[in-house]
Symmetry: C2
């Protein structure tokens, strides 16, 4: 069968919307926080098999992975966190495509902040609710629906389709790294992260840092005999702001960041210091996230923050003798990107125009994804595009609009046929 | 017997120095942190009886105490925290004197920071070591030695001597308040807090505050969509600095604060906010201590900080809609003071000159003591003077120099004779 008529595709999707919402609901109920992704992955494997795919389930590990310079995870035991990849071999002569979705979700936080249980998977008002709905099980569902529709409508693709359901994205992407090291590469990749239907050919990377800022203790009544680590932390934060301005001034003419106030922010997310109201605090710890521009090298960005902190010594004698202790810790995400004229972009933007009857918004993502690893380590050109809403991700009462899931599914289906080719 | 010759007094003190160090060591070993002062108070009661004093031991409580506007304690059960007062009745016609010492000590903190156990009571190199050595068991020992020397040398005082060993000073003085309410008043009082042999006729008060500073959460990659509570906290801290300058400018010509960079500081001692490196923090909590000038009303000082916070709204729209939530919590100490020409001052400064052969330093204390309660609630003119070193108080490896204990004892003995009168 050649390409189905668009209205046939649309109708298939509409007819399967409720079933799809039900599957998403089950995925959410599986509560796949880091370390307990197994149940959700079994649902994914079952779905892949149902689509006629060859299914590869494995627990990541081994020296190749753990010693890889881009391995980043707080864990070394993934026994209940398998990766699952489904492959649908093409008839030959087409371009292959990975659609990569992470199955891990961030912790729900305080239950009290949720109207319903984070794991309710409640379906209503055209939405599905729960942790992971938007980030990114709803996006993964779009891709599944696209492949299932084509499969059901009898479309034979020339290139291979590889659906990778990976773990550990929220901790820095070791699941995708493991998938690349296992040999899963392709001519292109989509990642249906919650882009709000914006197309992200380039993705910001990021990394976390911790700064220890020193002071000297004294009684609060003679605070002039001490040195406040809180006041020193303010100098450090101001220095970070200066560096942020400098780094972002370079991106002022970058079209993909047009209108974005701070393309690659340096966020100070946590502060803690002092132990007694009437003592001068002698230590403040800051924790933050440094954005890395799509074309930037992580090591260069790290060096910039380190140098910026060493500049403090020239401004203030205290910092010459008590330099800020800067540590890179926790998660990091490689930046990534492809050119706007890449054929994968054409396939996706053409599909978008057809389905939405509008010009797509094309931007650089404000956050990291597994796309950095796919492009930089796997050599796989990658575009991020999905139906989720950024503002709902990581927050209570997370949800996804099924209308957007279906639109994204239709766009993926058309783009897949364009990219992989149809017999 | 009339007044002993000074060299007789000095000799008595020198001969009893080792025994005194041993008693201080026992007091330290009794580890009288809040809630477990009983053992140390039994040692005090025994000592008072040995001096021929009438001893009053009681557990504070009752509505008069708990409902008193100046009652300030996190506790309402003082079963293992009795107060002990020893009274030596005078022969009549003299001025009475309270010497007030708190038996409670602050927690020792991490054992690892101490060279020896905080409760070692180690005696060596002319020092006694351990939590409470300087704040203020060493000071109390000076007063005990003074009374014991006079008693042993057969001196008959005209006025009553009241030695009050109270609990709860470190939490805001409810022990002294209870002692006042029980009727212990006098014509004057000494408090041998660690003043480093400086005489404090006036004492700074202080109170603790907590501020909740709001922000609006966002992902760190789009931090411009949020409002950082950390950046707002910096505005709050700057506002506090402005108020501190204003308040201290008023004290610029105050002779007791001559040369003190910031007479009544507002110390920010603790900061905590944010929960994730890559989120914009939506709440920062600040905790601090506001110094209250000796002549100042606590309520006026409170109002000044409250008004200063409300001024933020005029400077920044965010604070109009999200005012700083200011709360007064924890401990507070009333300020207190008497005139420099008060006869109690004369008695003490004359004694100091005789013993030290030098002019005493006279200042306002940079911290609160039980003196505020004694003067403001008890109507007892009070001077703070003692052998301890401020910098050793509340820190690891606390110690006291026995040389200073003996000097202070000699000064107290002379001042007592001058104040109370000798038959």
């Amino acid at each position: 069968m050649v390409k189905p008529e668009r209205k046939v595709l649309k109708q298939w999707l509409a007819e399967h919307a409720d079933e799809a919402a039900g599957f998403l609901s089950r995925l959410i109920k599986a509560a796949s926080t880091a370390g307990r992704e197994k149940e959700a992955q079994e649902l994914m494997a079952e779905k892949f098999r149902h689509l006629g795919m060859a299914v590869d389930t494995w627990v990541q590990g081994g020296d190749d992975l753990f010693n890889h310079p881009h391995f980043c995870s707080p864990r070394t035991d993934f026994i209940d966190s398998p990766n699952v990849v489904g492959t649908l071999q093409g008839t030959g002569g087409g371009r292959s495509l990975i659609i990569n979705g992470h199955i891990d979700v961030v912790p729900p936080g305080e239950d009290a902040a949720w109207e319903r249980s984070p794991w309710s998977g409640y379906v209503g008002d055209g939405r599905v609710y729960g942790r992971g709905a938007t980030d990114m099980k709803g996006g993964t569902l779009s891709a599944l629906l696209a492949v299932e529709a084509l499969h059901s409508l009898g479309v034979k693709l020339k290139g291979d389709i590889i659906l990778a359901s990976v773990v550990e994205e929220e901790s820095g992407g070791s699941g995708t790294l493991a998938s690349i090291l296992r040999g899963y590469k392709a001519d292109g990749a989509f990642i249906p992260e919650p882009s709000e239907m914006v197309i992200y050919p380039q993705q910001q990377g990021s990394m976390w840092f911790r700064m220890a800022v020193k002071g000297r203790v004294a009684h609060g009544g003679t605070r002039y005999l001490g040195v406040s680590a809180i006041e020193n932390a303010i100098l450090v934060i101001n220095q970070v702001r200066e560096l942020e301005q400098e780094r972002n001034a370079r991106l002022a003419d970058e079209p993909l960041y047009h209108g974005v106030p701070i393309p690659v922010p340096i966020n100070i997310g946590k502060i803690a210091g002092g132990s007694w109201p009437s003592s001068v605090p002698d230590l403040v710890t800051l924790e933050g996230r440094m954005g890395v521009a799509p074309g930037e090298n992580m090591a260069d960005a790290r060096r910039e923050l380190e140098q910026s902190m060493s500049l403090l010594g020239a401004k203030d004698e205290w910092f010459r003798e008590h330099p800020v202790q800067l540590e890179w810790f926790g998660a990091r995400w490689l930046p990534g990107g492809i050119g706007l004229d890449h054929p994968l972009m054409n396939a996706l933007t053409d599909a978008y125009r057809l389905v939405k009857n509008a010009k797509p918004e094309i931007k650089a993502s404000p956050w990291g994804t597994d796309g950095g690893l796919l492009t930089q380590v796997g050599g796989v050109p990658t575009v991020v595009f999905g139906p989720g809403v950024t503002a709902a991700a990581h927050y209570p009462n997370e949800y996804i609009e099924m209308k957007n899931v279906l639109d994204a599914a239709e766009i993926f289906a058309l783009a897949i046929m364009e990219w992989c080719g149809v017999e």
